[in-house]
């Protein structure tokens, strides 16, 4: 039986914005990214990039970069530099230009080009490899960057390194991150999209999400970040928390301390 992977999804992303896509496995997050990158054509509706179609004739080549899940499994060049240069070379950039793009991209993800450029990509640590793979897409200088589970399978240090790279990239590109790691990304989001079985369960800003989160969680449509879950549990057990749930751990701790009558500093 045929089913629609995505239906009725509408999302706009501006340069410099960070959109976060959430939802359980199989909810359509990766399909959304592939469609946005022009790799999948929607059966109805349109996907446009800067008012041009995302796929086919007239699509802006290289304007949208997509970093797949565990992209380090797709390294095939003998050095980090050559792998990162794959995209710029496909875009027909000159040798000097491609080299400059690669160096800038490696610096953006905090990998020293002189140290890492000549290394074999499969000899890197998990966090380094993930950032090198991210640099491979950044070297194309995309105006929009789509990240599929960028922190999956990484330890704390690797996740922090990827997050720092995302913060740097955000200054120059519109970002859409689909993730299960809402703890890491929600605090940075401008817009949030929650998918469930290919449909939009929520779309809006973080403040609106925090208001709706208890109801969404009760309906099984969203999994709150741990810091929010702690506040929701405290409320259920009678803590007199204010009306607003906090994403920032410090603000959440202060609210919980106030509710416990211990004051806050």
């Amino acid at each position: 039986m045929a089913s629609r992977a995505l239906e009725g999804v509408s999302l706009a992303l501006e340069p410099g914005e960070l959109g976060v896509g959430l939802g359980p496995t199989g909810s359509g997050k990766t399909t959304l990214l592939r469609a946005a990158a022009g790799l999948l054509a929607p059966t109805s509706g349109t996907v446009t990039v800067d008012d041009r179609p995302a796929a086919g004739r007239g699509s802006p080549r290289g304007a949208v970069g997509l970093v797949f899940q565990r992209p380090e499994a797709q390294f095939f060049a003998p050095s980090v530099e050559e792998d990162c240069a794959f995209g710029p070379r496909n875009l027909g950039r000159s040798t000097e230009e491609a080299r400059a793009d690669v160096r800038a991209a490696l610096r953006a993800v905090r990998l020293d080009p002189d140290e890492f450029g000549s290394r074999e990509p499969w000899g890197l640590s998990g966090g380094e490899a993930r950032r090198a793979a991210l640099a491979g897409v950044l070297a194309m200088r995309p105006r929009y960057l789509l990240l599929d589970e960028p922190t999956a399978g990484l330890d704390a240090a690797g996740r922090a390194a990827v997050l720092a790279a995302v913060d740097v990239v955000r200054a120059g590109a519109g970002l859409l991150v689909v993730t299960h790691d809402s703890d890491l990304f929600l605090g940075r989001a401008d817009t949030v999209l929650i998918l469930r079985a290919g449909r939009v369960a929520f779309s809006g800003g973080v403040a609106a999400l925090l208001e709706e989160l208890p109801a969404l969680a009760a309906a099984g449509a969203a999994e709150p970040p741990e810091v929010v879950r702690a506040q929701m549990l405290a409320r259920e057990r009678g803590a007199m928390l204010g009306g607003r749930l906090e994403l920032d751990p410090d603000a959440a701790a202060a609210a919980l301390a106030r509710a416990a009558g211990g004051g806050a500093s």
């Binding site: 240069a85 496909n90 027909g92 950039r93 897409v137």
Partner: protein, 265 residues
């Protein structure tokens, strides 16, 4: 990544043979192969053997690594020797008789001649991959075949296919190893029974292995497409390789000498 010490695997040492341009090495190996098939006597074979010994010495590749390829052709070598040396009821004086089968001097001479030729061919040609990294080799093949691009042979695509195939050999071995280990831990035995039973035990390994390989190939193809790969048209290079005067000189001198020796001997 697991290291495979296989036939013709690149030995990274510094030597004049390693520094020679890969396209020149391909030309010399081609000339060597032609010369080897031109010689029709043991004097010619002895000359070619001296060439191989000299090349191995200059390349600084350990002789054991250079001869590793011979193990793989052991069956072909043995078969060639026997097929040429054994005669059915020969009219000539037999050196050795096994029922109706016999070995005579002429058959033994022919068998040894063809056997030595195969051994020299394998050892000599494996020097190409022993002294050239996979990517340099594919670059060399691309440049050596460049004239064929004028008659619409997809030289760039062939070279890219070769690069990726070489890159994923260790990954495939690693994947197979993981599946075998998982099956052994679930009680499968790969070292019991006769050859047929053992071969049958590997069938359940091949199904998940091929599934993983196809999945990986699909993911890689999509990732390459996302990085704007649409064949080699309009694609630039990160490193511009050109054969220098010394590469040309070595190619012309060695190839001419080999072909002349093959013709004369």
């Amino acid at each position: 990544m697991r290291t495979i010490t296989g036939i013709g695997q690149y030995v990274p040492v510094d030597s004049p043979v390693h520094r020679l341009d890969p396209a020149a090495k391909i030309g010399i190996v081609t000339a060597f192969t032609v010369a080897l098939f031109l010689v029709d006597g043991f004097r010619g074979l002895a000359t070619m053997a001296a060439v191989v010994v000299l090349a191995v010495a200059v390349s600084r590749v350990p002789p054991r690594a250079a001869m590793r390829g011979l193990a793989a052709v052991g069956f072909i070598v043995s078969f060639t020797l026997l097929a040429n040396a054994l005669r059915w009821n020969p009219a000539t004086v037999a050196l050795l008789r096994l029922g109706p089968l016999a070995v005579d001097a002429a058959g033994l001479r022919t068998g040894i001649f063809f056997t030595v030729r195969i051994m020299l061919l394998v050892t000599g040609t494996s020097l190409l991959t022993l002294t050239t990294s996979p990517v340099a080799l594919t670059g060399g093949i691309e440049r050596a075949l460049a004239p064929l691009a004028r008659v619409r042979v997809p030289v760039g695509e062939l070279a890219m296919t070769l690069t990726i195939a070489l890159r994923f050999i260790p990954t495939t071995v690693e994947e197979a190893d993981r599946i075998v280990t998982a099956q052994v831990s679930r009680g499968v035995s790969f070292d019991r029974g006769g050859p047929l039973a053992r071969a049958r035990a590997y069938a359940p390994v091949l199904v998940p292995l091929f599934y993983q390989l196809f999945r990986r190939a699909d993911a890689l193809a999509t990732a390459m497409e996302a990085r704007c790969y649409h064949g080699t048209e309009g694609r630039t290079r990160l490193h511009e390789h050109r054969m220098g005067p010394s590469d040309w000189a070595v190619l012309l001198l060695v190839s001419t000498a080999l072909l002349a020796a093959g013709w004369a001997l």
